[in-house]
């Protein structure tokens, strides 16, 4: 609400009037009180949300009813991967909080957890791909699996991009004294938000893949009938 107020407030200013000019001269140069790194993550958030939304839309648009969409209902690695991603998000959030509260002795350890769990997530994703292919479900098998592979690949690439910056920030942290960790606070907060975003995207994906399948569609139809 305050963002809307801010936007509309700005757009109704009359910069040519003397009274407004006096107000404008107190302006320091920033629109939002956030760091450039955080701004970048929020913008990437917006761009990637559009990207993933279009994939979801495409998936929902083109899924023919006769395709096999029930594999996600069975126990498989997808559930474990989701758990791993939850853990990564929790650890990153903890790092941000610790930095804010001046608790520095856990930072390095939690950063290692974040990296290790993220790599485990990627490894398990590949293992799941291997399982699927072994059971005869390839990327060209049907549009359900095409979407599955496409989405998880893009999500993985986003995670790898995040891991590149995680590596840069971690190497800086490991070279710094504990008292200087807060120099990297902006970058860590931005990365923490990025991981949270990846987790949200994953949850939406998981929900859609889970919910939008033949069994659920049949169930809904039966309710309507």
């Amino acid at each position: 609400m305050s963002l809307l107020k801010k936007i509309f407030g700005t757009l109704t200013e009359k910069p040519w009037e003397a009274s407004q000019a006096a107000i404008d001269s107190t302006h320091a140069g920033k629109t939002f009180e956030i760091s450039n790194q955080m701004s970048a993550v929020i913008i990437i958030f917006g761009v990637s949300t559009t990207l993933f939304s279009l994939i979801f839309t495409g998936y929902l648009y083109s899924l023919p009813p006769e395709q096999d969409t029930t594999f996600i209902l069975k126990t498989n690695l997808l559930w474990i991967n989701t758990l791993v991603l939850i853990l990564v998000t929790i650890f990153f959030n903890r790092i941000s909080k610790d930095l804010k509260n001046g608790v520095t002795n856990t930072i390095k350890r939690n950063l290692i957890y974040v990296g290790a769990l993220s790599y485990i997530f990627l490894f398990l994703q590949l293992a799941l791909w291997y399982q699927l292919m072994k059971s005869g479900n390839f990327v060209s098998t049907n549009t359900y699996f095409s979407s599955y592979y496409f989405f998880t690949a893009l999500h993985g690439i986003h995670l790898l991009g995040g891991l590149y910056f995680w590596g840069k920030v971690s190497s800086k942290i490991f070279k710094l004294d504990e008292k200087d960790y807060n120099k990297e606070e902006k970058s860590i907060n931005a990365l923490s938000l990025y991981w949270f975003f990846l987790f949200i995207v994953w949850l939406v994906f998981f929900t859609i893949m889970f919910a939008y399948n033949d069994t659920v569609i049949e169930f809904c139809k039966s309710l309507i009938a």
């Binding site: 801010k6 700005t10 200013e13 006096a22 302006h27 920033k30 939002f32 956030i34 559009t50 083109s62």
Partner: protein, 612 residues
Amino acid sequence: MSDEYDNNKSYQAQSSEVLDGSAGSINPDMDYVRPAEIPEQDLYHAHSFIEKWIFCQDAKVIGVQYFLTAVFTGIVGLILSWLMRLQLGFPELAGFMTAEHYYQFVTMHGMIMVVYFLTALFLGGFGNYLIPLMVGARDMVFPYVNMLSFWMFFVAVAVLMASFFVPGGPTGAGWTLYPPQTILEGTPGSGTGILLMLISLSLFVIGFTMGGLNYMITILQARTRGMTLMRMPLTVWGIFTATVLAMLAFPALLVSAIMMTLDKVLQTSFFMPTILKAGEVLEYGGGSPILFQHLFWFFGHPEVYIVALPAFGIVSDLISVHARKNIFGYRMMVWAIVGIGGLSFFVWAHHMYVSGMNPWFGFFFATTTLIIAVPTAMKVYNWILTLWRGNIRINTVMLWCLGFIVTFVNGGITGIFLGNVSVDVPLSDTYFVVAHFHMVMGIAPLMVIMGAVYHWFPLVAGKMLSETLGKWHFWITFLGAYSIYFPMHYLGFIGVPRRYFEMYDSPYMTSTVGMNEFISVAAFIVGAAQFILVFNIIKTLKTGKKAEQNPWKANSLEWYTSTVPPEHGNFGERLPVVHRWPYDFSVPGAKDDFIPQTTAPSEVANTEVEKT
């Protein structure tokens, strides 16, 4: 870098965008500005020729790199259009050209001009050069990423151009790349050609995202003191809104390019339905070609405004400066830019009226399309009202601006025709559509580009372009463009279809022979006239008159750098402080007919700014 910056000081930045707080009170000191509280940017200064001119992190050099690369692609696109017109006007002289070649030229011309020329030139070229200068920043916020953005674009162009030299040549599927025919055998360039096109588009989008990130954050977060959003020149507003549009629309292009690549390479069926070929069922099945059309136009229509909005912003500033009058309805202009940007995401399916869509769907998109004409018309009125009673200088820049207004109104009005389903359906795929979109998003933005080149060349090169050559350039282009596109509307009305290699022997086709010859001759002349500018630039760089610091007597910050052309870091020791908007022209009581943005109120105490 700044000696005013105190590291221990807490952030207290109050902007006019923040409505509550102490910023609302008027300080008794009329020249008061907030002390610098944001640390100065550490710039990476080049140490070698390669770092300074090739892998450079200075946004101005990157802007020029974008500009030159885009112009190169534009010249390729121009040559392709000449070849197409040669075939259409004088097929007996184009014996070397097959139908396949023609389709490939049509496709590459369209894609090059829309994406690699116009988009790259407006956002990459003008955006990089002007944003930091106009908002009072030393550079973009992430200069290294900005440099990567250009090189990604460069590689995208190289990959695209490589497709001319692969077996089968470039894709000839039409610039819309509609599946399924795009990737099926029988379409020119359906092998390596289409793959290179899709890879190139993906690289372009990734590169642009890096650049767009910089443009947005620099504008939102790195302006100088006193530069509120509503004190920014409309050029910056146009580029900013277009960047937001691009950041939201290009993902659709990326997704569709990747999906189509997968359909081609891994035999997925995102866009491929079950297909029978020579009695045999292909491996594809279950996909939707219409899904591609939706994704493509979800990108494709905002793309029109990604090109148009920077043009709107730039032309507003040029008109104001060269008519010596404040821009009429500044706020309305900003609202219109933002409004058009928002609405542009709700009109895409007007490109798909003949795809078999539900009539109610068509009704919805026809309505939204007509609504978008409202803010657009507001802008046209405001340009005219800015000129009204202005002290107009009929120089080359102003001629291009006036040419833009007339051309844009022309192209816009035919757009209103085509926005209506009942009018669009019979005119679909005729030359009427070709004439419409060339007028509104080809010639009109090109006129702004030309005006902008003549306006800002003294800043970039420190020399004045020849006015005489400029006027020749304008008049040949202006009259020539109308000679091409006015008759083309008529061709469309009588039903001549677009994308046809030859016109066959039907009565109405043969009746157009003379007109096609006329259009082709005009196209050759207009194309050749563009080299007047190239000649003018080369001549000026060699022997041109040296430009003074602010030759047009403009108010915006780019003309108040420490040196001309500006050095890396733009503003010398201290960043400028902004005291006013950039449109204080011909203010009653002022000594000069312009008051720069950096002029403190006490220096012009007895002036009264015209209400707008």
